[in-house]
Symmetry: C2
Subunit: 186 residues, 2 copies
DNA sequence: CGAATCGTTGAAAGCAGTCAACTAGGGTGG
DNA sequence: CCACCCTAGTTGACTGCTTTCAACGATTCG
């Protein structure tokens, strides 16, 4: 879709589908900084470059805004700028929460927290459910949580053995949501 | 200074000194999400609560703005709002960089990256120097890098044994900045 | 049906964490 | 002025969680 070095000439509004947002180290290590869902804005950078790369997981529909005219459009509408600002603040808050997860949580806590967080995000789109679809790969989840693919897999299996979740093709079913929350430890 | 739950009734501009910005898990684990230096803004949340706690490292001088009047003041000044927005975007970018560090870097890379980053931030305030003052404690550094105090200490001594840095009281001297950069691996 | 990709599982290694002892300053009170 | 204490930092020994390496299983697609 676009990568970190690209000059931002456009914003995007994700209308449908899922995207991964990530950064790469020179040696190829990847950290996924977030997943984008329907309704999310990408590339709010008014000027300059993107600070992350993004690509689609499956098929996506995006609405592209050329930056320049959008900038002019926004000029006379401070409430809109304010809205954008609040969006940035919210993302910043999420980013900080994720820092706590990456720096201070165990593998099991990471996975449990991820499942709950992902489910929560889907609530507003598809309604609440104990069935949590996971369109992204294990590698994506690992790179999001700062783990390896094997640890993610093992943790899922452990949670399943403990009767907390059930591994479904394409997702996870929360058999005991309360216990998942307990494992997430806030 | 203020904590995560506080309703934000004020912004702050840090005029002098250093502050740590952090989040706590219920069990007391701490993740420092950033350090604030002279000139930095705190609590850009237009409305709602702070999403992190903050307190001073040593003595600080801050300029406090009441939120409400400041909000009115900003009303007719879209360029200022825009400025605030760019600040938020920059912080977001830094937050994402730090995610990469927390999720994908080794202890040595973390420490080296931290030293370089901290030095870089001090450049604009005190000018460039190979002597990097560290006003924060080892515990603060550990909580910033997602490590333990012991690992931070051991990593410093390893770097010193390797002749890359020298541990000074109250800071670190970069004996071989190029090698530190190599260890930071980007 | 075979190839390729993704995910799971096992065994072993290693990096960072834990526990604990020790050292070095810095401040305080006798 | 010195003895004491208290905190911050260092170091060592050991543990253990996560990674690494490797093989295996499952699903998809040509």
């Amino acid at each position: 879709m676009f990568s970190e070095e690209d000059i931002t000439t456009s914003f995007y509004n994700l209308l449908e589908g899922v995207m991964r947002l990530y950064k790469l180290l020179p040696d190829g290590r990847r950290q996924i900084v977030g997943f984008a869902l329907s309704g999310d804005f990408l590339g709010m950078n008014i000027s300059g470059r993107h600070n992350f790369s993004a690509d689609a997981i499956g098929t996506v529909t995006v609405c592209q805004f050329a930056k320049a005219p959008f900038g002019r459009f926004i000029e006379g509408r401070p409430h809109l700028l304010r809205r954008i600002n609040e969006l940035a603040i919210r993302e910043l808050s999420q980013a900080r929460d994720h820092m706590v997860l990456l720096g201070r949580r165990s593998a099991e806590e990471k996975v449990a927290t991820f499942l709950l967080g992902w489910r929560e995000r889907l609530v507003s789109l598809k309604g609440s459910s104990d069935m949590v679809p996971l369109p992204m790969s294990r590698q994506d989840i690992a790179d999001y949580l700062g783990l390896t693919i094997e640890t993610v897999s093992r943790t899922f299996t452990k949670l399943e053995r403990d009767g907390v979740i059930e591994i479904i093709h394409g997702g996870i079913s929360l058999l005991d949501p309360a216990r998942v929350e307990a494992l997430a430890a806030a």
